[in-house]
Protein backbone atom coordinates (compact mmCIF):
# COMPACT_ATOMS: atom_id res chain seq x y z
CA UNK A 1 0.00 0.00 0.00
CA UNK A 2 2.78 2.35 0.98
CA UNK A 3 4.73 1.44 -2.12
CA UNK A 4 1.78 2.14 -4.39
CA UNK A 5 1.21 5.53 -2.80
CA UNK A 6 4.88 6.26 -3.22
CA UNK A 7 4.61 5.38 -6.91
CA UNK A 8 1.77 7.89 -7.39
CA UNK A 9 3.86 10.60 -5.71
CA UNK A 10 6.83 9.69 -7.85
CA UNK A 11 4.74 9.84 -11.00
CA UNK A 12 3.45 13.31 -10.07
CA UNK A 13 7.05 14.38 -9.57
CA UNK A 14 7.80 13.44 -13.17
CA UNK A 15 5.49 16.25 -14.22
CA UNK A 16 6.07 18.65 -11.32
CA UNK A 17 9.26 19.72 -9.55
CA UNK A 18 9.68 18.38 -6.01
CA UNK A 19 9.24 21.87 -4.58
CA UNK A 20 7.78 25.09 -5.99
CA UNK A 21 8.29 28.74 -5.02
CA UNK A 22 5.78 29.65 -2.32
CA UNK A 23 4.34 32.70 -4.20
CA UNK A 24 3.39 30.57 -7.22
CA UNK A 25 0.66 28.63 -5.42
CA UNK A 26 -1.24 31.87 -4.96
CA UNK A 27 -4.39 31.43 -7.07
CA UNK A 28 -4.26 34.95 -8.44
CA UNK A 29 -0.88 34.46 -10.06
CA UNK A 30 -2.08 31.89 -12.59
CA UNK A 31 -5.85 31.64 -11.95
CA UNK A 32 -5.28 27.90 -12.41
CA UNK A 33 -5.73 28.37 -16.16
CA UNK A 34 -3.13 25.82 -17.26
CA UNK A 35 -4.62 23.24 -14.92
CA UNK A 36 -8.10 24.04 -16.21
CA UNK A 37 -6.92 23.45 -19.76
CA UNK A 38 -5.57 20.03 -18.72
CA UNK A 39 -8.84 19.08 -17.02
CA UNK A 40 -10.91 20.16 -20.02
CA UNK A 41 -8.60 18.20 -22.34
CA UNK A 42 -9.13 15.17 -20.11
CA UNK A 43 -12.92 15.59 -20.30
CA UNK A 44 -12.64 15.91 -24.09
CA UNK A 45 -10.63 12.68 -24.39
CA UNK A 46 -13.10 10.78 -22.19
CA UNK A 47 -16.31 12.03 -23.82
CA UNK A 48 -14.65 11.85 -27.24
CA UNK A 49 -13.97 8.14 -26.72
CA UNK A 50 -17.63 7.60 -25.83
CA UNK A 51 -18.83 9.58 -28.83
CA UNK A 52 -16.59 7.50 -31.09
CA UNK A 53 -18.72 4.49 -30.19
CA UNK A 54 -21.82 6.17 -31.60
CA UNK A 55 -20.54 8.28 -34.48
CA UNK A 56 -20.25 7.00 -38.06
CA UNK A 57 -18.14 9.15 -40.39
CA UNK A 58 -19.97 8.71 -43.68
CA UNK A 59 -22.05 11.26 -45.57
CA UNK A 60 -25.11 9.00 -45.30
CA UNK A 61 -24.83 8.21 -41.60
CA UNK A 62 -22.99 11.07 -39.91
CA UNK A 63 -25.98 13.33 -39.33
CA UNK A 64 -28.26 10.45 -38.33
CA UNK A 65 -25.75 9.03 -35.88
CA UNK A 66 -25.46 12.39 -34.09
CA UNK A 67 -29.25 12.70 -34.00
CA UNK A 68 -29.54 9.19 -32.63
CA UNK A 69 -27.36 10.15 -29.65
CA UNK A 70 -30.33 11.96 -28.18
CA UNK A 71 -32.87 9.27 -28.95
CA UNK A 72 -31.31 5.85 -28.62
CA UNK A 73 -28.42 6.19 -26.21
CA UNK A 74 -29.05 6.84 -22.51
CA UNK A 75 -27.55 10.22 -21.61
CA UNK A 76 -26.06 10.34 -25.12
CA UNK A 77 -26.83 13.99 -25.55
CA UNK A 78 -25.36 14.83 -22.18
CA UNK A 79 -22.07 13.29 -23.31
CA UNK A 80 -22.18 15.34 -26.50
CA UNK A 81 -22.97 18.47 -24.51
CA UNK A 82 -20.06 17.87 -22.13
CA UNK A 83 -17.79 17.44 -25.16
CA UNK A 84 -19.16 20.62 -26.73
CA UNK A 85 -19.01 22.71 -23.55
CA UNK A 86 -15.48 21.52 -22.75
CA UNK A 87 -14.27 22.32 -26.25
CA UNK A 88 -15.69 25.84 -26.17
CA UNK A 89 -14.44 26.54 -22.66
CA UNK A 90 -11.03 25.17 -23.65
CA UNK A 91 -10.75 27.70 -26.47
CA UNK A 92 -11.38 30.49 -23.94
CA UNK A 93 -9.12 29.03 -21.27
CA UNK A 94 -6.10 28.50 -23.54
CA UNK A 95 -6.26 32.07 -24.84
CA UNK A 96 -6.49 33.41 -21.28
CA UNK A 97 -3.62 31.10 -20.30
CA UNK A 98 -1.52 32.57 -23.13
CA UNK A 99 -2.35 36.10 -21.96
CA UNK A 100 -1.51 35.20 -18.36
CA UNK A 101 1.84 33.82 -19.47
CA UNK A 102 2.68 36.97 -21.41
CA UNK A 103 1.39 39.42 -18.80
CA UNK A 104 3.35 37.84 -15.96
CA UNK A 105 6.52 37.86 -18.05
CA UNK A 106 6.84 34.10 -18.46
CA UNK A 107 8.26 33.87 -21.98
CA UNK A 108 11.75 35.17 -21.28
CA UNK A 109 15.02 33.23 -21.24
CA UNK A 110 14.58 29.71 -19.88
CA UNK A 111 10.96 29.57 -21.01
CA UNK A 112 11.28 30.50 -24.68
CA UNK A 113 10.88 27.01 -26.12
CA UNK A 114 7.84 26.43 -23.93
CA UNK A 115 6.15 29.58 -25.30
CA UNK A 116 6.64 28.18 -28.81
CA UNK A 117 5.23 24.79 -27.81
CA UNK A 118 2.33 26.58 -26.16
CA UNK A 119 1.56 28.35 -29.44
CA UNK A 120 1.64 24.95 -31.18
CA UNK A 121 -0.85 23.69 -28.60
CA UNK A 122 -3.10 26.71 -29.22
CA UNK A 123 -3.12 25.94 -32.95
CA UNK A 124 -3.93 22.28 -32.21
CA UNK A 125 -6.79 23.23 -29.86
CA UNK A 126 -8.33 25.55 -32.45
CA UNK A 127 -7.82 22.92 -35.16
CA UNK A 128 -9.43 20.27 -32.97
CA UNK A 129 -12.39 22.54 -32.27
CA UNK A 130 -12.79 23.34 -35.94
CA UNK A 131 -12.45 19.80 -37.31
CA UNK A 132 -14.93 18.59 -34.70
CA UNK A 133 -17.37 21.34 -35.68
CA UNK A 134 -17.73 19.72 -39.11
CA UNK A 135 -18.40 16.14 -38.11
CA UNK A 136 -22.20 16.31 -37.51
CA UNK A 137 -22.59 17.27 -41.20
CA UNK A 138 -25.46 19.64 -40.56
CA UNK A 139 -25.93 23.03 -42.20
CA UNK A 140 -23.60 24.68 -39.68
CA UNK A 141 -20.87 22.17 -40.51
CA UNK A 142 -21.28 22.17 -44.26
CA UNK A 143 -21.13 25.93 -44.70
CA UNK A 144 -18.32 26.40 -42.23
CA UNK A 145 -16.22 23.95 -44.27
CA UNK A 146 -17.25 25.67 -47.51
CA UNK A 147 -16.20 29.10 -46.29
CA UNK A 148 -12.97 27.94 -44.68
CA UNK A 149 -11.95 25.95 -47.76
CA UNK A 150 -12.61 28.97 -49.97
CA UNK A 151 -10.54 31.11 -47.59
CA UNK A 152 -7.71 28.58 -47.86
CA UNK A 153 -7.78 29.08 -51.63
CA UNK A 154 -6.72 32.71 -51.16
CA UNK A 155 -3.27 31.76 -49.80
CA UNK A 156 -0.82 32.91 -52.47
CA UNK A 157 0.95 30.28 -54.62
CA UNK A 158 -0.08 27.06 -52.86
CA UNK A 159 -3.67 27.92 -51.86
CA UNK A 160 -5.51 25.98 -54.53
CA UNK A 161 -3.25 22.95 -54.15
CA UNK A 162 -3.65 22.97 -50.36
CA UNK A 163 -7.39 23.27 -50.71
CA UNK A 164 -7.50 20.28 -53.06
CA UNK A 165 -5.43 18.18 -50.66
CA UNK A 166 -7.47 18.99 -47.55
CA UNK A 167 -10.81 18.89 -49.33
CA UNK A 168 -9.93 15.61 -51.03
CA UNK A 169 -11.24 16.73 -54.41
CA UNK A 170 -12.73 19.65 -56.29
CA UNK A 171 -15.93 19.48 -54.26
CA UNK A 172 -16.77 19.00 -50.60
CA UNK A 173 -17.84 15.45 -49.95
CA UNK A 174 -16.96 12.11 -48.36
CA UNK A 175 -13.19 12.58 -48.71
CA UNK A 176 -13.46 15.93 -46.90
CA UNK A 177 -15.42 14.34 -44.06
CA UNK A 178 -12.91 11.47 -43.81
CA UNK A 179 -9.98 13.88 -43.71
CA UNK A 180 -11.51 15.96 -40.93
CA UNK A 181 -12.54 12.85 -39.01
CA UNK A 182 -9.03 11.38 -39.03
CA UNK A 183 -7.55 14.75 -38.07
CA UNK A 184 -10.04 15.13 -35.22
CA UNK A 185 -9.83 11.68 -33.65
CA UNK A 186 -6.25 10.64 -34.38
CA UNK A 187 -3.76 13.18 -35.70
CA UNK A 188 -4.65 16.16 -33.50
CA UNK A 189 -5.21 14.29 -30.20
CA UNK A 190 -1.97 12.34 -30.74
CA UNK A 191 0.08 15.45 -31.45
CA UNK A 192 -1.65 17.24 -28.57
CA UNK A 193 -0.65 14.53 -26.12
CA UNK A 194 3.01 14.62 -27.16
CA UNK A 195 3.24 18.41 -27.03
CA UNK A 196 1.34 18.56 -23.71
CA UNK A 197 3.79 16.24 -21.97
CA UNK A 198 6.68 18.26 -23.37
CA UNK A 199 4.95 21.47 -22.22
CA UNK A 200 4.56 20.15 -18.63
CA UNK A 201 8.07 18.81 -18.48
CA UNK A 202 9.53 22.16 -19.56
CA UNK A 203 7.57 23.89 -16.78
CA UNK A 204 9.03 21.34 -14.37
CA UNK A 205 12.53 21.95 -15.71
CA UNK A 206 12.09 25.72 -15.28
CA UNK A 207 11.32 25.02 -11.60
CA UNK A 208 7.56 25.48 -11.70
CA UNK A 209 5.66 28.67 -12.45
CA UNK A 210 7.45 31.99 -12.69
CA UNK A 211 7.73 33.97 -9.46
CA UNK A 212 8.95 37.33 -8.26
CA UNK A 213 11.86 37.50 -5.86
CA UNK A 214 10.80 38.59 -2.39
CA UNK A 215 12.86 41.73 -1.88
CA UNK A 216 16.34 40.22 -2.07
CA UNK A 217 15.51 37.31 0.26
CA UNK A 218 15.84 33.84 -1.26
CA UNK A 219 12.49 32.55 -2.48
CA UNK A 220 10.87 30.15 -0.01
CA UNK A 221 10.04 26.81 -1.64
CA UNK A 222 7.40 24.37 -0.45
CA UNK A 223 6.82 20.70 -1.34
CA UNK A 224 4.55 20.03 -4.32
CA UNK A 225 2.93 17.03 -2.61
CA UNK A 226 0.54 17.87 -1.02
CA UNK A 227 0.47 21.70 -1.31
CA UNK A 228 0.25 22.17 -5.07
CA UNK A 229 -1.61 18.91 -5.69
CA UNK A 230 -4.39 19.88 -3.27
CA UNK A 231 -4.89 23.20 -5.06
CA UNK A 232 -4.87 21.53 -8.46
CA UNK A 233 -7.45 19.02 -7.29
CA UNK A 234 -9.66 21.82 -5.94
CA UNK A 235 -9.59 23.71 -9.26
CA UNK A 236 -9.95 20.56 -11.36
CA UNK A 237 -12.83 18.97 -9.47
CA UNK A 238 -14.78 22.24 -9.23
CA UNK A 239 -14.35 22.68 -12.96
CA UNK A 240 -15.54 19.14 -13.72
CA UNK A 241 -18.62 19.74 -11.57
CA UNK A 242 -19.26 23.05 -13.32
CA UNK A 243 -18.94 21.61 -16.85
CA UNK A 244 -21.16 18.61 -16.08
CA UNK A 245 -23.79 20.96 -14.66
CA UNK A 246 -23.49 23.39 -17.58
CA UNK A 247 -23.92 20.53 -20.06
CA UNK A 248 -27.34 19.71 -18.64
CA UNK A 249 -28.72 23.00 -19.99
CA UNK A 250 -26.40 24.11 -22.76
CA UNK A 251 -27.30 22.00 -25.79
CA UNK A 252 -24.77 21.48 -28.55
CA UNK A 253 -26.39 22.86 -31.72
CA UNK A 254 -27.60 20.62 -34.52
CA UNK A 255 -29.28 22.30 -37.50
CA UNK A 256 -30.91 20.54 -40.42
CA UNK A 257 -28.87 18.11 -42.47
CA UNK A 258 -26.34 19.73 -44.80
CA UNK A 259 -27.88 21.19 -47.95
CA UNK A 260 -25.30 22.24 -50.55
CA UNK A 261 -27.93 24.34 -52.33
CA UNK A 262 -28.87 26.72 -49.55
CA UNK A 263 -26.72 28.67 -47.10
CA UNK A 264 -28.45 29.58 -43.86
CA UNK A 265 -28.89 33.33 -43.37
CA UNK A 266 -26.78 34.60 -41.73
CA UNK A 267 -24.03 32.01 -42.14
CA UNK A 268 -21.51 32.39 -39.37
CA UNK A 269 -18.23 30.76 -38.50
CA UNK A 270 -17.78 29.18 -35.05
CA UNK A 271 -17.47 31.99 -32.47
CA UNK A 272 -13.70 31.58 -32.03
CA UNK A 273 -13.27 32.46 -35.72
CA UNK A 274 -15.76 35.34 -35.69
CA UNK A 275 -12.93 37.86 -35.34
CA UNK A 276 -11.47 36.52 -38.58
CA UNK A 277 -14.87 36.51 -40.27
CA UNK A 278 -15.34 40.14 -39.25
CA UNK A 279 -12.01 40.93 -40.92
CA UNK A 280 -13.28 39.19 -44.06
CA UNK A 281 -16.10 41.73 -44.24
CA UNK A 282 -13.69 44.66 -44.27
CA UNK A 283 -10.49 43.46 -45.91
CA UNK A 284 -9.56 41.84 -49.20
CA UNK A 285 -9.71 38.06 -48.62
CA UNK A 286 -5.98 37.61 -49.26
CA UNK A 287 -5.29 39.97 -46.36
CA UNK A 288 -8.08 38.77 -44.05
CA UNK A 289 -7.49 35.04 -44.58
CA UNK A 290 -3.73 35.01 -45.00
CA UNK A 291 -1.63 38.16 -44.47
CA UNK A 292 -3.04 39.31 -41.12
CA UNK A 293 -3.23 35.87 -39.44
CA UNK A 294 0.29 35.22 -40.73
CA UNK A 295 1.61 38.53 -39.35
CA UNK A 296 -0.13 37.94 -36.01
CA UNK A 297 1.21 34.41 -35.71
CA UNK A 298 4.74 35.50 -36.67
CA UNK A 299 4.66 38.30 -34.08
CA UNK A 300 3.64 35.88 -31.29
CA UNK A 301 6.25 33.34 -32.40
CA UNK A 302 9.12 35.86 -32.54
CA UNK A 303 8.14 37.69 -29.35
CA UNK A 304 10.45 35.80 -26.95
CA UNK A 305 13.42 36.11 -29.33
CA UNK A 306 13.47 39.91 -29.04
CA UNK A 307 15.91 40.86 -26.25
CA UNK A 308 14.21 42.56 -23.31
CA UNK A 309 10.69 41.80 -24.51
CA UNK A 310 9.64 39.90 -21.39
CA UNK A 311 8.30 41.72 -18.32
CA UNK A 312 9.94 41.11 -14.95
CA UNK A 313 8.59 37.69 -13.96
CA UNK A 314 5.88 36.81 -11.49
CA UNK A 315 4.08 40.16 -11.15
CA UNK A 316 1.04 40.96 -13.24
CA UNK A 317 1.86 43.61 -15.90
CA UNK A 318 5.37 43.87 -14.43
CA UNK A 319 4.40 46.56 -11.95
CA UNK A 320 1.57 48.81 -10.73
CA UNK A 321 2.60 51.32 -13.40
CA UNK A 322 2.44 48.60 -16.04
CA UNK A 323 -1.12 47.78 -15.01
CA UNK A 324 -2.20 51.34 -15.79
CA UNK A 325 -0.55 51.14 -19.19
CA UNK A 326 -2.29 47.82 -19.92
CA UNK A 327 -5.67 49.36 -19.07
CA UNK A 328 -5.01 52.26 -21.45
CA UNK A 329 -3.85 49.88 -24.20
CA UNK A 330 -6.94 47.69 -23.82
CA UNK A 331 -9.27 50.70 -23.89
CA UNK A 332 -7.46 52.26 -26.84
CA UNK A 333 -7.48 49.03 -28.86
CA UNK A 334 -11.17 48.42 -28.18
CA UNK A 335 -12.14 51.99 -29.16
CA UNK A 336 -10.04 51.76 -32.31
CA UNK A 337 -11.73 48.51 -33.33
CA UNK A 338 -15.24 49.89 -32.75
CA UNK A 339 -14.38 53.06 -34.68
CA UNK A 340 -12.90 51.09 -37.59
CA UNK A 341 -15.95 48.79 -37.84
CA UNK A 342 -18.40 51.71 -37.76
CA UNK A 343 -16.39 53.84 -40.19
CA UNK A 344 -16.08 51.01 -42.69
CA UNK A 345 -19.76 50.23 -42.31
CA UNK A 346 -20.60 53.85 -43.18
CA UNK A 347 -18.25 53.82 -46.16
CA UNK A 348 -19.41 50.49 -47.55
CA UNK A 349 -22.54 51.80 -49.23
CA UNK A 350 -24.06 50.45 -52.46
CA UNK A 351 -21.78 51.11 -55.41
CA UNK A 352 -18.63 50.53 -53.39
CA UNK A 353 -17.58 47.07 -54.45
CA UNK A 354 -14.36 45.26 -53.78
CA UNK A 355 -13.39 44.73 -57.36
CA UNK A 356 -11.48 47.78 -58.51
CA UNK A 357 -8.16 48.34 -56.75
CA UNK A 358 -9.38 46.36 -53.73
CA UNK A 359 -6.00 44.78 -53.13
CA UNK A 360 -4.61 48.28 -52.49
CA UNK A 361 -7.63 50.01 -50.94
CA UNK A 362 -8.68 47.09 -48.74
CA UNK A 363 -5.35 45.36 -48.35
CA UNK A 364 -2.16 47.32 -48.52
CA UNK A 365 -3.55 50.64 -47.20
CA UNK A 366 -5.15 49.33 -43.96
CA UNK A 367 -2.24 46.95 -43.35
CA UNK A 368 0.30 49.75 -43.70
CA UNK A 369 -1.85 51.96 -41.48
CA UNK A 370 -1.90 49.31 -38.73
CA UNK A 371 1.86 48.74 -38.97
CA UNK A 372 2.54 52.50 -38.86
CA UNK A 373 0.19 52.88 -35.90
CA UNK A 374 1.97 50.07 -34.02
CA UNK A 375 5.41 51.48 -34.80
CA UNK A 376 4.31 54.99 -33.81
CA UNK A 377 2.80 53.73 -30.56
CA UNK A 378 5.99 51.84 -29.77
CA UNK A 379 8.14 54.92 -30.47
CA UNK A 380 5.93 57.13 -28.30
CA UNK A 381 6.04 54.71 -25.37
CA UNK A 382 9.76 53.94 -25.46
CA UNK A 383 11.22 57.32 -26.55
CA UNK A 384 8.69 59.88 -25.40
CA UNK A 385 7.14 58.24 -22.32
CA UNK A 386 10.34 56.47 -21.28
CA UNK A 387 8.76 53.05 -20.83
CA UNK A 388 10.72 49.81 -21.09
CA UNK A 389 10.62 47.74 -24.27
CA UNK A 390 8.84 44.96 -22.36
CA UNK A 391 6.10 47.38 -21.31
CA UNK A 392 5.64 48.59 -24.90
CA UNK A 393 5.44 44.99 -26.15
CA UNK A 394 2.92 44.22 -23.41
CA UNK A 395 0.81 47.25 -24.43
CA UNK A 396 0.85 46.10 -28.06
CA UNK A 397 -0.19 42.58 -27.11
CA UNK A 398 -3.02 43.83 -24.88
CA UNK A 399 -4.24 46.23 -27.58
CA UNK A 400 -4.14 43.42 -30.16
CA UNK A 401 -6.22 41.11 -27.98
CA UNK A 402 -8.67 43.92 -27.20
CA UNK A 403 -9.16 44.46 -30.94
CA UNK A 404 -9.65 40.73 -31.56
CA UNK A 405 -12.14 40.54 -28.68
CA UNK A 406 -14.17 43.49 -29.99
CA UNK A 407 -14.23 42.01 -33.51
CA UNK A 408 -15.36 38.67 -32.08
CA UNK A 409 -18.12 40.27 -29.99
CA UNK A 410 -19.31 42.32 -32.98
CA UNK A 411 -19.32 39.21 -35.17
CA UNK A 412 -21.15 37.02 -32.68
CA UNK A 413 -23.76 39.44 -31.33
CA UNK A 414 -24.04 42.44 -33.64
CA UNK A 415 -24.27 40.82 -37.06
CA UNK A 416 -27.73 39.82 -38.27
CA UNK A 417 -29.20 38.73 -41.60
CA UNK A 418 -26.85 39.32 -44.53
CA UNK A 419 -24.24 40.35 -41.97
CA UNK A 420 -25.73 43.80 -41.44
CA UNK A 421 -25.00 45.46 -38.12
CA UNK A 422 -27.96 44.90 -35.78
CA UNK A 423 -28.76 45.33 -32.12
CA UNK A 424 -28.69 41.83 -30.63
CA UNK A 425 -31.81 42.43 -28.51
CA UNK A 426 -33.82 43.39 -31.62
CA UNK A 427 -32.47 41.02 -34.24
CA UNK A 428 -33.15 37.40 -34.96
CA UNK A 429 -30.08 36.39 -33.00
CA UNK A 430 -26.84 34.81 -34.09
CA UNK A 431 -25.67 31.25 -34.07
CA UNK A 432 -23.24 29.99 -31.51
Amino acid sequence: MKASRQSITDFILHLHPRTVPYPTIRFRLSWGLGGMAVVLTGLLFLTGALLLLAYRPTLEEAYGSVRALGRDIPLGYWVRNIHHASANLLAVVVVLHLLRTALTGAFGPGRRLNWTIGLGLLVLVLAANFTGYLLPWDQLAYWAVTVSMAALGYIPLCGDWLRGVIQGGPEIGQATLSNFYVLHVAVIPGSLLVLLLWHFWLVRRAGGLISASEGGEPIRRIPVVPNLIAREAAVGLSLVAFVLFLAMFWNAPLLEQANPGMSPNPTKAPWYFQGLQELLLHLHPVFAAFVWPFLGGAALLLLPLIPGSALPGGVWFGSERGRGLAAWAAGGGALLAVAAVLADNALRQPGVGMAAGALIARGIVPTSAVILLAAGGYWLLVKAANRTRAEAVMAGLVAGFAILTVLTVVGVFFRGAEMHLVWPWHGTGGSL
Partner: protein, 169 residues
Protein backbone atom coordinates in the same frame (compact mmCIF):
# COMPACT_ATOMS: atom_id res chain seq x y z
CA UNK B 1 26.46 18.07 -23.20
CA UNK B 2 28.69 15.91 -21.05
CA UNK B 3 32.25 16.47 -19.95
CA UNK B 4 33.50 14.00 -22.51
CA UNK B 5 32.34 16.27 -25.31
CA UNK B 6 34.21 19.33 -24.15
CA UNK B 7 37.36 17.26 -23.64
CA UNK B 8 37.27 16.04 -27.24
CA UNK B 9 35.79 19.15 -28.82
CA UNK B 10 39.12 20.90 -29.20
CA UNK B 11 40.59 18.68 -31.89
CA UNK B 12 37.92 16.22 -33.08
CA UNK B 13 34.26 15.28 -32.73
CA UNK B 14 33.78 12.93 -29.80
CA UNK B 15 32.09 9.57 -30.12
CA UNK B 16 29.05 10.72 -28.20
CA UNK B 17 28.68 13.92 -30.22
CA UNK B 18 29.00 11.92 -33.41
CA UNK B 19 26.24 9.53 -32.43
CA UNK B 20 24.02 12.33 -31.11
CA UNK B 21 24.26 14.08 -34.45
CA UNK B 22 23.67 10.84 -36.31
CA UNK B 23 20.48 10.19 -34.32
CA UNK B 24 19.32 13.75 -34.96
CA UNK B 25 19.86 13.39 -38.72
CA UNK B 26 18.14 10.00 -38.83
CA UNK B 27 15.27 11.33 -36.72
CA UNK B 28 14.74 14.31 -39.00
CA UNK B 29 14.93 12.02 -42.05
CA UNK B 30 12.24 9.79 -40.54
CA UNK B 31 10.07 12.84 -39.82
CA UNK B 32 10.50 14.11 -43.39
CA UNK B 33 9.62 10.67 -44.75
CA UNK B 34 6.44 10.51 -42.71
CA UNK B 35 5.53 14.01 -43.79
CA UNK B 36 6.09 13.10 -47.42
CA UNK B 37 4.11 9.90 -46.96
CA UNK B 38 1.21 11.77 -45.44
CA UNK B 39 1.09 14.45 -48.11
CA UNK B 40 1.36 12.02 -51.02
CA UNK B 41 -1.35 9.91 -49.40
CA UNK B 42 -3.61 12.96 -49.15
CA UNK B 43 -2.66 14.28 -52.58
CA UNK B 44 -3.67 10.99 -54.21
CA UNK B 45 -7.18 11.62 -52.93
CA UNK B 46 -7.45 14.96 -54.67
CA UNK B 47 -9.74 13.54 -57.34
CA UNK B 48 -12.06 11.66 -54.95
CA UNK B 49 -14.95 14.03 -54.60
CA UNK B 50 -15.98 14.22 -58.24
CA UNK B 51 -19.68 14.92 -58.64
CA UNK B 52 -21.54 11.62 -58.94
CA UNK B 53 -23.12 12.45 -62.27
CA UNK B 54 -21.16 14.48 -64.77
CA UNK B 55 -23.24 17.57 -65.38
CA UNK B 56 -23.09 18.42 -69.04
CA UNK B 57 -25.53 20.46 -71.05
CA UNK B 58 -28.72 21.28 -69.14
CA UNK B 59 -32.04 22.12 -70.81
CA UNK B 60 -33.33 25.17 -68.97
CA UNK B 61 -36.61 25.38 -70.91
CA UNK B 62 -38.30 27.23 -73.75
CA UNK B 63 -37.45 30.86 -74.46
CA UNK B 64 -41.02 31.95 -73.75
CA UNK B 65 -40.77 30.71 -70.14
CA UNK B 66 -38.37 33.50 -69.24
CA UNK B 67 -39.58 37.10 -69.18
CA UNK B 68 -37.11 39.95 -69.64
CA UNK B 69 -35.77 41.27 -66.34
CA UNK B 70 -36.37 38.05 -64.40
CA UNK B 71 -34.20 35.44 -62.73
CA UNK B 72 -35.05 31.72 -62.68
CA UNK B 73 -33.27 29.13 -60.57
CA UNK B 74 -32.36 25.93 -62.44
CA UNK B 75 -31.73 23.38 -59.66
CA UNK B 76 -30.44 20.53 -61.85
CA UNK B 77 -27.61 22.72 -63.11
CA UNK B 78 -27.09 24.63 -59.86
CA UNK B 79 -27.25 27.99 -61.67
CA UNK B 80 -29.57 30.95 -62.24
CA UNK B 81 -30.83 31.85 -65.68
CA UNK B 82 -31.11 35.63 -65.84
CA UNK B 83 -32.94 37.26 -68.73
CA UNK B 84 -31.71 40.80 -69.18
CA UNK B 85 -34.17 43.62 -69.93
CA UNK B 86 -32.91 43.65 -73.53
CA UNK B 87 -33.83 39.96 -73.95
CA UNK B 88 -30.33 38.49 -73.59
CA UNK B 89 -29.73 35.31 -71.56
CA UNK B 90 -27.05 34.95 -68.91
CA UNK B 91 -26.43 31.75 -66.90
CA UNK B 92 -24.99 32.76 -63.52
CA UNK B 93 -23.29 30.44 -61.04
CA UNK B 94 -25.04 30.43 -57.67
CA UNK B 95 -21.70 30.36 -55.84
CA UNK B 96 -20.51 33.64 -54.29
CA UNK B 97 -17.07 34.59 -55.61
CA UNK B 98 -15.96 35.67 -52.13
CA UNK B 99 -16.00 32.48 -50.06
CA UNK B 100 -18.28 30.06 -51.85
CA UNK B 101 -21.68 30.43 -50.16
CA UNK B 102 -24.73 29.99 -52.36
CA UNK B 103 -26.47 33.27 -53.15
CA UNK B 104 -30.28 33.41 -53.35
CA UNK B 105 -32.07 35.89 -55.64
CA UNK B 106 -33.93 38.55 -53.65
CA UNK B 107 -36.96 39.57 -55.73
CA UNK B 108 -37.75 42.70 -53.69
CA UNK B 109 -34.25 44.10 -53.85
CA UNK B 110 -33.69 42.94 -57.41
CA UNK B 111 -30.30 41.57 -56.41
CA UNK B 112 -28.47 38.39 -55.41
CA UNK B 113 -27.70 38.66 -51.69
CA UNK B 114 -25.00 36.50 -50.09
CA UNK B 115 -25.91 35.41 -46.54
CA UNK B 116 -22.31 34.77 -45.44
CA UNK B 117 -20.60 38.11 -45.83
CA UNK B 118 -23.32 40.33 -47.26
CA UNK B 119 -22.07 40.75 -50.82
CA UNK B 120 -24.78 41.75 -53.30
CA UNK B 121 -24.81 41.18 -57.05
CA UNK B 122 -26.95 42.74 -59.77
CA UNK B 123 -29.10 40.93 -62.35
CA UNK B 124 -26.03 40.71 -64.59
CA UNK B 125 -23.97 39.29 -61.70
CA UNK B 126 -21.91 42.43 -61.14
CA UNK B 127 -20.82 43.29 -57.58
CA UNK B 128 -23.11 45.92 -56.06
CA UNK B 129 -21.56 45.86 -52.59
CA UNK B 130 -18.44 44.05 -51.42
CA UNK B 131 -16.62 42.17 -50.12
CA UNK B 132 -16.91 39.91 -53.20
CA UNK B 133 -13.85 40.50 -55.38
CA UNK B 134 -15.38 39.79 -58.83
CA UNK B 135 -18.77 39.25 -60.52
CA UNK B 136 -20.58 35.90 -60.38
CA UNK B 137 -19.14 33.29 -62.75
CA UNK B 138 -21.12 32.44 -65.89
CA UNK B 139 -21.82 29.32 -67.95
CA UNK B 140 -22.02 29.32 -71.76
CA UNK B 141 -25.63 29.57 -73.05
CA UNK B 142 -26.84 28.27 -76.42
CA UNK B 143 -30.24 28.65 -77.99
CA UNK B 144 -31.35 25.76 -80.19
CA UNK B 145 -34.87 25.41 -81.68
CA UNK B 146 -36.34 27.84 -79.18
CA UNK B 147 -34.81 25.98 -76.22
CA UNK B 148 -32.27 27.53 -73.82
CA UNK B 149 -29.35 25.16 -73.22
CA UNK B 150 -26.59 25.78 -70.70
CA UNK B 151 -23.21 24.05 -70.69
CA UNK B 152 -22.45 23.44 -66.99
CA UNK B 153 -19.10 21.71 -67.52
CA UNK B 154 -16.97 24.67 -66.56
CA UNK B 155 -17.75 28.08 -65.06
CA UNK B 156 -16.14 31.12 -66.70
CA UNK B 157 -14.50 33.77 -64.55
CA UNK B 158 -14.82 37.42 -65.53
CA UNK B 159 -13.76 40.80 -64.21
CA UNK B 160 -16.76 42.83 -65.32
CA UNK B 161 -20.02 42.46 -67.21
CA UNK B 162 -19.76 42.98 -70.96
CA UNK B 163 -22.74 43.00 -73.31
CA UNK B 164 -21.33 40.13 -75.40
CA UNK B 165 -21.38 37.75 -72.38
CA UNK B 166 -25.17 37.51 -72.79
CA UNK B 167 -26.61 35.23 -75.46
CA UNK B 168 -29.23 36.87 -77.64
CA UNK B 169 -31.77 35.28 -79.92
Amino acid sequence: MSKTDTRFAGFKIGRRTFFNRLWAVLGLAALAEFGWLGISFLASRRDRNRPEREVGVVDAGEISMFLPGTVTAVPQGQFYLARLPDGGFLALSRTCTHLGCSVPWDEEKGAFVCPCHGSTFSLTGEVLTGPAPRPLDTYPVRIENGMVKVDCAKARRRDRFLAEQATRI
